[in-house]
Symmetry: C2
Subunit: 279 residues, 2 copies
Amino acid sequence: MDSHPFDRAIALQQVGAELFSGDCGPQYWNMVGPFGGVSAAIALNAVLQHPALLGEPVTLTVNYAAALAQGPFSISVRPVRTNRSTQHWLVELAQVDGAGATLTALTATVMTAARRSTWNSHDIPMPTVLAPMSLVRARSPGAIAWLGQYDIRFVEGGMPRTWDEADTAAPSAAASLTQIWARDDPPRVLDHCAIAALADLFFPRIFLRRRRRVPVGTVSMTTYFHASAAQLRECGTSFVLGQARGQVYQDGFFDHTAQLWSESGAPLATSSQIVYYKE
Amino acid sequence: MDSHPFDRAIALQQVGAELFSGDCGPQYWNMVGPFGGVSAAIALNAVLQHPALLGEPVTLTVNYAAALAQGPFSISVRPVRTNRSTQHWLVELAQVDGAGATLTALTATVMTAARRSTWNSHDIPMPTVLAPMSLVRARSPGAIAWLGQYDIRFVEGGMPRTWDEADTAAPSAAASLTQIWARDDPPRVLDHCAIAALADLFFPRIFLRRRRRVPVGTVSMTTYFHASAAQLRECGTSFVLGQARGQVYQDGFFDHTAQLWSESGAPLATSSQIVYYKE
């Protein structure tokens, strides 16, 4: 009853040996279909709920094959290879359409592993930015439900103030840079499903780059999880810093790379995605 | 007879409605199993050979579940969803082990699309580097067959000269940067399969960062194709500039991001991968 809306949205019921069902409800709805980050979290959650799970998530790639409709879906999840310390998964999410046909709407591959302590380091120092509480919360347009489920504070690269189509920026790593602080609202203790969703929180880089809104839709997203479940739990309900940069916009598809850090500066995850755009 | 060794390595024979067989041979062999880039190209080639193919490759994610053994393999390829202009694919490569069991060694997801002309740009200007013919070709240790199949010229971030384990570099975007010029040897006209392989040409970032060789193996690689088949063909047998940077090294896995440009400076593909490491 008093569970978090995110937990309700990604909840699954086991209905077969390797089959689950779910219904993500309206609270994380985007314009057409649910917020892609929640769909990614659902795919990951199916693996985490499987009784044969080995270890914790390391990689998640989600391919968005079609928009989900409101209502129930089924999700099949299969460990295709289990090694001594790693496990590879295939996930397929399907819905029954109006004509009674079962159609695949999303596929995912996941690699989980029993991780060991090693030499650790990184090459992505957290940018020096203002603290989240010293920044104002972005207003969320009421028309997009899922935006109301996150407290997002722009550090750099917010939505254009004018849509003047002045796409005159020279190609550079700064031209499509966005940095945000973000957390669930209401707050929720971090876990891998939350990270899978937070990795998809960036508005389309092409909006920033072109100062023009064009129809868009993510077609594939890959996230690498660097933090363990214990490390995420220790972060509690603190903010996550996210950074994204566009790479190439060409013939209807653009990609970006992204990094997520804990409020204290530890790298939590890295991600990339490719997005369809029209015109 | 006089086909290119790469074409022979990725060649597939259709043996069922959605089933192919292949045998990549010894020329692209790594230490254990074939070069991961060739395995990626094989997975992509299975999609390209499927009679129902729509459009050209946009995304390729390969999960390396186990090392391939020498000898034949089977590869199943299935279009899970075909939309008006995009198509989503699942690929599974399997081999029969010594005990007669068929085991999955690799999975891949691919998205193909009929691409349209749009507003095009990018945010990854090609770094200013010396021309390939003004650099010396890297020597390839004879022990690793596949390295002999590429002409690789290091611009920046070559293999450490001393393995002194002086991993004292401060985390930074430059600490694990490598830039290379590369092309097939013998030369071969560029195509998407070549790009899938070239995207995996970087030696492990952790070698550079730690100046120490530890056991490693790629577990997942994602490549986004930005150039069309026609654009690649126009590049002919010219060199490709590749750039890779490590991101996070933690508890047995590290990731990197990479970009590939044509010799004339056009962005061809972007890629990321996550690699297992021991110790």
